[in-house]
């Protein structure tokens, strides 16, 4: 998979560790929701990811969040699971560059 380079505003440097830790929590929550077939929770988590990603420079989190939200609304459990896995990988491989 291609390396994702994320450009983050230098002012946000201190917030990044916490941010990434919270995204791991989100992934875990998504996996649990998929396992129990909780479409409402999947939709909610997707919506939340959609809103939080781009502000920190993580546009891919916003994009994936939107897709996850849509899959949740459409009741497409398999899609939601696949998207969650992709997001997990993208987070794992993303390279962060701090810009002034």
């Amino acid at each position: 998979m291609a390396i994702l380079t994320v450009h983050v505003d230098i002012d946000l440097e201190e917030l990044i560790p916490g941010f990434l830790a919270n995204r791991q929590k989100d992934i875990a929550a998504l996996r649990a929701a998929v396992a129990s077939g909780d479409m409402a929770e999947i939709t909610r988590l997707g919506h939340s990811l959609k809103g939080v990603g781009g502000g920190y420079g993580f546009d891919f989190i916003t994009e994936m969040g939107k897709k996850i939200e849509d899959s949740g609304k459409a009741g497409e459990l398999a899609t939601a699971e696949a998207l969650t896995n992709s997001l997990d990988e993208m987070l794992a491989t993303a390279e962060i560059v701090f810009d002034e």
Binding site: G18, H47, S48, G51, V52, G54, G55
Partner: protein
Amino acid sequence: MVKEKILVVDDVEDNRNLLRVMLVKHGYSILSAENGLEAVALAEKEQPDLILLDIMMPVQDGFEACMELKGKEITKDIPVIFLSAKDDVTDKLKGLELGAADYITKPFNKAEVIARTKTQLKLYGLTRTLAQANDELREKQDKIDEDLIAAAHIQHSLIPSEVPAIAHCGFAFRFVPSDLSGGDIFNILRLDEDFVVIYIADVCGHGVPAAMVTVAVAQSLQPHGRSIVKDTLDKPPYYRISSPLDVVEKLDQQYPLDRFGRFFTIAYILLNIRTGELRYCNAGHQLPVLQRQSGEIELLEAGGPIIGMGDMVPFEEGCVTMHPGDRLYLYTDGIVEHTNPDDDYFGEERLYGVIAGQRAASLDECCTELLEEVRLFADGCRADDDITLVALEYDPEK
């Protein structure tokens, strides 16, 4: 300078952090809340200058919180900016309907956050400045109204409160002040065994300035000590009553137009109650109406221009004799210039008509009837000037 306080409300910690970092960098002080309930409590306590409010939150969402904030007196004016996803048009509309000032879309764009924040804070600041200016203006207006009421009281205190009891004379008067102090004044003074002065004056204009000149004129015409009405002498009879011509000329000297920037009119009557001889001088005032016992009406025309013209036109004195039963009516233009909904004036003809028609009635009844006729004529139109009426009936038998 005190930092402006912004309350950031979002259930997602990373959103709160992001906004905090952005805004602190621009010199704002930040408060945070995780849900609507906390937000409302914090807003009540801290009175922030702006609230950034997420919509989807547990416990209480942004819409409910906004409704509560707008419902409370101390928080209703704090501007609220909703944080909403880009594609949530319905959310945006609902937010605006609930009274939000603006919305910021997620994910947050730094420039957008700062721009909308600054705009709303500026607007809020201007609104508060305006409200303060309005309060100050209202205070000033209240003070002006107080002063007007005080001026009216002073004016009323100069006017006789009851009909004087003077031999051979029956009096009646009516005084209906307008809302704004109108500058009318009259008085009835017994100068000695034989002489009575009756005067009626109208200072132009309204309000406190007119009232002040009215006071000055009343002072000038008071009869005690050395005054222009009745002067003291060193030898018998130790006083001298000024003629109406003297009085009016003295007033004209003492009240040139450039003294107060105001002129006034006056009808000054000196009546010898023993003989019925009436001397008068009418300076620009409504012509006094002398109604004979027979009903015949004469107007007292001798006099000159308004007071203050500086002797441009000389004054003249007039003289008539009152016979038993004769009546004299003095009035100000508040009566004849009273308008009705068609913009007509009451006018002198109607006045004379009422006086003629009331010949058989008592003096007091005539006054009542005249004011009633004016009221009916006015048909709801407000008087914008004082209404003053002074009536005298000469009756040596009394």
